[in-house]
């Protein structure tokens, strides 16, 4: 069974090929069957493989399908590497991916680009599986770029609106900045260690590089560049909120559950490098912390239901980075998994809400929907509880582990922990702000006729609800992957600390209740003074990062492009042309056509020569 691992990405890839080659001529049920079925088949196979692998007792399993390229001492194969980490990822991708595909068969039912949509989705799943199963960094890079491409295609899926196109290009280009950094990292690793096979490379790094050596710092920094791009962390986080222009199942699959966590996967996969560069690892933690706080503030001010969720995704990935940074590798991956469940749930539920309201996304135009949209209400309730780490939901366990991991760190750990707890407090506020505004209070505008649904939309929601509630009780088989000195062991922390961690999101929910349910506190009152209005605008714009980047990079580039449209260098040759033309005109002047003039010039020349001869 294990040697069939190559079939995992092949199923969705075949689905993609069939859908592309038939170019939308297939009837919708068949498209749905191929689109969702191929991912479903992958999931079944993945489950079987995982079962066999878990019972096999092996640490890892490698299968090379063919040699991709071998040039001199460089070699890279199409080979798959299965261990606990890639197994978890592969199950998340195929499992949640399948649920989202299933949901999308209903969600996209009226879209003319039905077949195109599923072809991209299938390609995405194939690329994502390549990313997590590749045993060398080049194959990982293939998946890495492939998911970026699918993300681009799917964000710009409704291409008639230029804004969607802009968002899609922004996503691709911003992540490509990170990808470029990662590519340079690959070159550096190969130049120094002579291999790009992940396991060989890591063991070579361990033996050849000392802790804190320059190469280790450079390499891990460059890989971190790739990770922050893909995972929408500071300073490359600006693309993710705009990426919500795509259809909602895309936001669930790519921009919440799977692709954006690729950066977390990359760092976890190459964690040995980061352990060799403790400063960089600390940087990862700080990036995570700052991002999670910044995104939390921004989420507070958004009015678009999907943008709130997008910022919360950025924030939650910030937690994962925090976990990675403090060395709580398994906790970060654990959070990755629980987050995949509850964030997919939230996005899909928001999809149902949006569709039921005929593509209304403004939460201030919703309200009192809990009776009209019962399934979405339940989904949102469970998803929001898990997101805010309500005790004994899945998010609680994973976030807890990360925060405890931070606390276990000597020195700055306490600060990181405190920041994380503060973030949890904000998570409570913005999540339930959304929840209360959408499902309680007065109806503000839209009255849905009925909730869209059907088994293929509601089924995935119920399954994800179960996951969001119970995934925290799962145990991930990651010990073998992170066996070298995981920082986080069983720490005994005081009840007070635990109390803090449980209380902070609850207080956040309470604050949210006071503002948006009971009305004891009012936003309008807060907005009364100009400073808070300014702050609101600042946070609403995502801390002005877009503004800043526009001025730092986009405008100068556009300016340079505009002034040099005609190619300066070509103009230089133009000068050459003008010079010779001017020379021509000058000489042409002498050809007057008058015989006398010619005779005179002959005489003049003679006189000149003779007098020169006489004088010299």
């Amino acid at each position: 069974m294990l040697d069939l691992i190559w079939l995992l990405p092949t199923f969705p890839l075949l689905g993609f090929l069939v859908l592309v080659l038939t170019a939308g001529k297939l009837p919708k049920p068949i498209v749905a069957l191929i689109g969702a079925g191929s991912v479903g088949a992958s999931f079944l196979l993945a489950a079987l493989i995982a079962f066999q692998f878990a019972n096999g007792g092996e640490d890892h399993y490698v299968r090379e399908v063919w040699t991709w390229m071998a040039v001199g001492d460089f070699r890279s194969g199409f080979s798959f590497y299965l261990d606990g980490l890639s197994m978890v990822m592969m199950l998340i991708i195929t499992g949640i991916g399948f649920l989202i595909h299933l949901y999308a068969t209903g969600y996209m039912a009226d879209d003319p680009g039905y077949s195109r949509f599923f072809s991209y989705m299938n390609l995405f799943v194939a690329a994502m599986l390549m990313l997590v199963l590749g045993d060398n960094l080049v194959l990982l890079y293939l998946g890495w770029e492939g998911v970026g491409l699918c993300s681009y295609l799917l964000i710009g899926f409704w291409y008639t609106n230029p804004e969607n196109g802009y968002a899609a290009r922004k996503a691709f280009v911003v992540t490509r900045v990170g990808d470029t950094s990662m590519a340079i990292g690959l070159f550096l690793l190969f130049a120094q260690l002579g291999t790009l096979n992940i396991q060989d490379m890591l063991s070579a790094a361990e033996t050849e590089w000392a802790v804190g050596s320059g190469f280790a710092i450079a390499a891990s920094l460059l890989l971190l560049g790739g990770a922050v791009g893909k995972s929408a962390q500071l300073p490359l986080q600006t693309w993710l909120p705009d990426a919500m222009a795509g259809p909602t199942p895309i936001s669930a699959l790519i921009h919440a559950a799977t692709m954006v966590t690729a950066g977390v996967y990359l760092i976890a996969r190459t964690h040995v490098l980061f352990e060799l560069a403790p400063d960089v690892q600390m940087l990862v933690a700080w990036i995570g912390l700052i991002t999670l706080l910044m995104a939390g503030f921004t989420a507070l001010t958004q009015s678009d239901i999907k943008r709130v969720l997008a910022y919360s995704t950025v924030s939650q990935i910030g937690y994962m980075f925090l976990g990675l940074g403090v060395g709580a590798w398994s906790a970060a991956i654990f959070h990755l998994m629980t987050h995949a469940f509850f964030k997919a749930l939230l996005f899909l539920a928001s999809g149902t809400v949006i569709l039921s309201l005929h593509h209304e996304q403004d939460i201030f135009k919703m309200g009192n929907l809990r009776k009209k949209l019962p399934v979405s209400f339940l989904s949102f309730l469970i998803g929001s509880l898990a997101l805010t780490a309500f005790p004994f939901t899945s998010g609680y366990f994973s976030k807890d582990e990360i925060l405890l991991g931070a606390l276990a760190l000597e020195g700055v750990g306490t600060w990181l922990w405190l920041g994380g707890v503060l973030g949890a407090f904000f998570t409570g506020i913005y999540t339930f702000r959304l929840f209360f505004l959408v499902f309680f209070g007065e109806s503000r505008g839209h009255e849905p006729d009925k909730e869209v649904g059907g088994w293929h939309m509601n089924g995935p929601l119920y399954l994800l609800m179960v996951g969001a509630l119970l995934a925290g009780f799962l145990h991930l088989p990651l010990e073998a992957v992170f066996n070298h000195g995981e920082a986080f062991e069983e720490h005994h922390v005081s009840a007070l600390v635990h109390g803090f961690m449980i209380a902070s999101p609850l207080i956040g929910i309470g604050v949210s209740y006071l503002f948006y349910m009971s009305g004891s506190l009012s936003v309008a009152g807060l907005m009364g003074n100009p400073l808070s209005r300014l702050l609101h605008r600042f946070w609403h714009s995502g801390w002005g990062m877009d503004w800043l980047y526009d001025r730092l990079f986009v405008f100068p580039f556009l300016w340079l492009a505009r002034i040099n449209r005609a190619d300066l260098i070509d103009r230089c040759y133009g000068v050459l042309v003008e010079l010779s033309r001017a020379g021509n005109e000058l000489l042409v002047r002498t050809q007057t056509g008058y015989l006398r003039w010619y005779a005179l010039s002959v005489v003049g020349g003679l006189v000149l020569i003779v007098s020169l001869g006489v004088l010299l």
Partner: protein, 102 residues
């Protein structure tokens, strides 16, 4: 026989040559231009003869004979061209023939 000093001969030749040149440069009537050219040719011929007499060589005389024949040929061709020109342009003004200007 007391010979004329060759300097005198050369001075005469150069005066004639200059006159011819001035004629070529200033006249607009092409017939006069041709005549001025003849004067220049003969001036150079005179210079050859004077030089030949001075050094007692025959080459000067030979050159003069050649110039003479050359001048004859030139006049023949030149006059032919002038007639053609007159036929076509109805004028003998040399400035009319400036079509070759750049």
């Amino acid at each position: 026989m007391e010979s004329i000093p060759y300097e005198h001969g050369l001075i005469l030749a150069s005066i004639l040559f200059s006159l011819g040149l001035i004629g070529v440069l200033t006249r607009r009537n092409i017939v006069f231009v041709l005549m001025s050219l003849e004067i220049m040719l003969n001036a150079s011929g005179l210079a050859f003869i004077v030089a030949a007499a001075r050094w007692g060589h025959a080459e000067g005389q030979i050159m003069f004979l050649m110039i003479l024949t050359l001048a004859a040929a030139e006049v023949a061709v030149g006059l032919g061209l002038i007639i053609q020109m007159y036929r076509r342009f109805q004028t003998v003004d040399i400035n009319v023939l400036s079509e070759m200007k750049g």
